[in-house]
């Protein structure tokens, strides 16, 4: 096991379809640290986390997970990822438990059934997001917010050391958003590193160690929550910079955070 930081991003450049979306981005997330990534739609937040977990290629700079360059990182169980909920539903029903159990795959061997530890971890994760009553429900029958909580449970089931969450509370009601904020706080207190893409800090603010604000693909702030000014990460009519539009960042539903 390495003692290196869970996530280190240095001088990251990302181009999508030839257009620069991120330029020279630096970002670190340490063990037990909760870093909130803020920015207006189109600022490159989603592109940054997708590149950090290996879903998009970098055109320059480096990403290291636990001290290992992304291209050589194979210890997938240490990384948990909560993607933005996609609109397209698969054509065959799947229950909450089935979806959450797929969060254990990086720990399971081929051609075997889920073991007792897998089932226990999935059940615990479902309980943590308050979905125990609905665990046999097909996910297609859930509301947007409930579905989002299932995706969080799937990432938690893998018991990751670094959790990357892309607007995890989009569509989740106030009550459950507060509960998830508490949960994230507990996770970081127990040593998990969390990178959280957020629209607004909301109830998670007391647990955030550092806020990073992106604008037009550049880091414009990296520091305590207290120093974040509203104009840094919100769109304004008098926006002076020409905006770089990142399709990955255009979300139909805005999160509470």
């Amino acid at each position: 096991m390495t003692t290196a930081e869970p996530l280190t991003v240095r001088g990251l450049d990302v181009r999508l379809d030839g257009r620069p979306v991120l330029a020279g981005v630096d970002l670190t997330v340490g063990s037990g640290e909760l870093v909130a990534l803020l920015g207006a739609n189109g600022s490159g937040k989603s592109t940054l986390v997708k590149t950090a977990v290996g879903l998009l290629p970098a055109s320059g700079g480096s990403v290291e997970l636990f001290g290992t360059p992304l291209s050589r990182f194979h210890d997938h169980a240490r990384l948990g990822y909560v993607p933005q909920r996609s609109g397209a539903a698969p054509g065959v029903p799947a229950t909450v438990t089935e979806v959450v159990l797929s969060g254990r795959l990086s720990r399971r061997r081929l051609m075997t059934r889920p073991g007792r530890a897998d089932r226990a971890a999935a059940e615990r994760a479902i309980e943590q997001v308050g979905m125990s009553d609905l665990r046999r429900r097909p996910v297609a029958e859930l509301s947007g917010g409930q579905h989002q909580r299932v995706l969080i449970a799937r990432a938690l089931a893998g018991e990751p050391e670094l959790l990357v969450m892309d607007e995890p509370t989009a569509g989740v009601d106030r009550h459950h958003t507060a509960a998830i904020a508490e949960l994230v706080g507990e996770l970081t207190a127990s040593g998990t590193a969390v990178l959280l893409v957020a629209h607004d800090l909301g109830p998670v603010e007391p647990f955030v160690d550092r806020a990073v604000v992106l604008r037009d693909g550049h880091v414009v702030y990296d520091g305590s929550c207290g120093g974040v000014r509203d104009d840094m990460h919100h769109d304004h009519a008098h926006h002076a910079h020409p905006k770089v539009v990142d399709p990955a960042d255009v979300v139909p539903t805005k999160g509470v955070w």
Partner: protein, 281 residues
């Protein structure tokens, strides 16, 4: 009188072939439905037709050339989906037309009329040879072991590709595997229901199962059961009432879908519409 048909060796072989087709087609078809690629089976069926014609032209067993060409077609589909920006339905259209045109053209070069392709288009389960049956059985076992044994992985890849990739699953490999298994299944089913109807046996039992199931696992298992029953019953019924086995199997599968859909509607009416609990705002 039902046992009487077991007296004929060709009927016994037909039943074994039906058993394998009935199980394997929905076993892999479930993943195609989950990925919303229900028509992929049909597209690959058309490509397999080119393979059949190639077999006729080169005097190689058509079942073998069909497997090879359909597998190559499957890999091509996944490559087109992954590396070019061709949408899935356009890829399917390319398969349909390319496969039919290639099949008829090659069959013509082989000096065969379209009629020679007929038994492959609509199936001719009662003329299956013993060597064909062995190939059908062997390929069927391979498809079943992989489709059932790798269910957690294949499910994850079809459910959420991005998450599967971050989990370290070789997503591209599994996508190609699904397409290749589908191609193999189609050629296995070529002699039973035929290339034009095989897609029905991959998709209809899955649609029937999900009228009554709530989990992926139960849908997968129930679809395989329904496919098995439809295929075996189809062969028996076609013998008893003297119809063509392929269409009989497919019509039985469709009939069970209608029954399941009616059952579901009935259940929902009796229970009253289920209201979602505590929907988040």
């Amino acid at each position: 009188m039902m046992l009487e048909l077991l007296d004929y060796p060709f009927m016994r072989m037909a039943l074994v072939a039906a058993l394998f087709t009935g199980l394997t087609a929905p076993a892999i078809g479930t993943y195609l439905v989950q990925r919303r690629l229900s028509l992929l089976g049909d597209g690959l069926g058309h490509v397999a037709l080119t393979g059949v014609a190639l077999g006729l032209l080169t005097n190689v067993a058509p079942l073998v050339t069909a497997v090879v060409v359909a597998v190559l077609g499957a890999i091509l589909v996944e490559a087109l989906r992954a590396w070019s920006k061709t949408p899935g339905d356009v890829v399917l259209a390319l398969l349909f037309y390319g496969g039919i045109a290639g099949g008829v053209l090659l069959a013509g070069l082989a000096g065969e009329s379209g009629a020679a392709l007929n038994s492959y288009l609509f199936g001719s389960i009662v003329t299956i040879s013993e060597s064909d049956l062995w190939l059908v059985a062997a390929l069927g076992v391979v498809v079943l072991v992989l489709a059932v044994g790798l269910r957690p992985q294949l499910f994850a890849v079809c459910q959420d590709e991005a998450h599967a990739r971050v989990s370290g699953l070789p997503v591209r490999f599994y996508s190609i595997l699904i397409a290749v298994l589908a191609a193999v299944t189609i050629t296995v089913a070529m002699r039973t229901v035929g290339l034009l109807l095989v897609s029905a046996l991959m998709v209809v039992p899955v649609a029937t199962a999900q009228q009554l199931t709530r989990s992926f696992r139960s849908t997968h298992v129930a679809a395989m059961g329904l496919g098995l029953v439809a295929a075996v019953a189809g062969v028996v019924v076609s013998y008893e009432v003297d119809t063509q086995p392929g269409p009989t199997i497919v019509l039985l599968a469709l009939a069970s879908f209608v029954v399941a859909a009616l059952l579901r509607t009935g259940v929902l009416l009796v229970r009253g519409r289920r209201t979602p609990e505590v929907a988040d705002a």
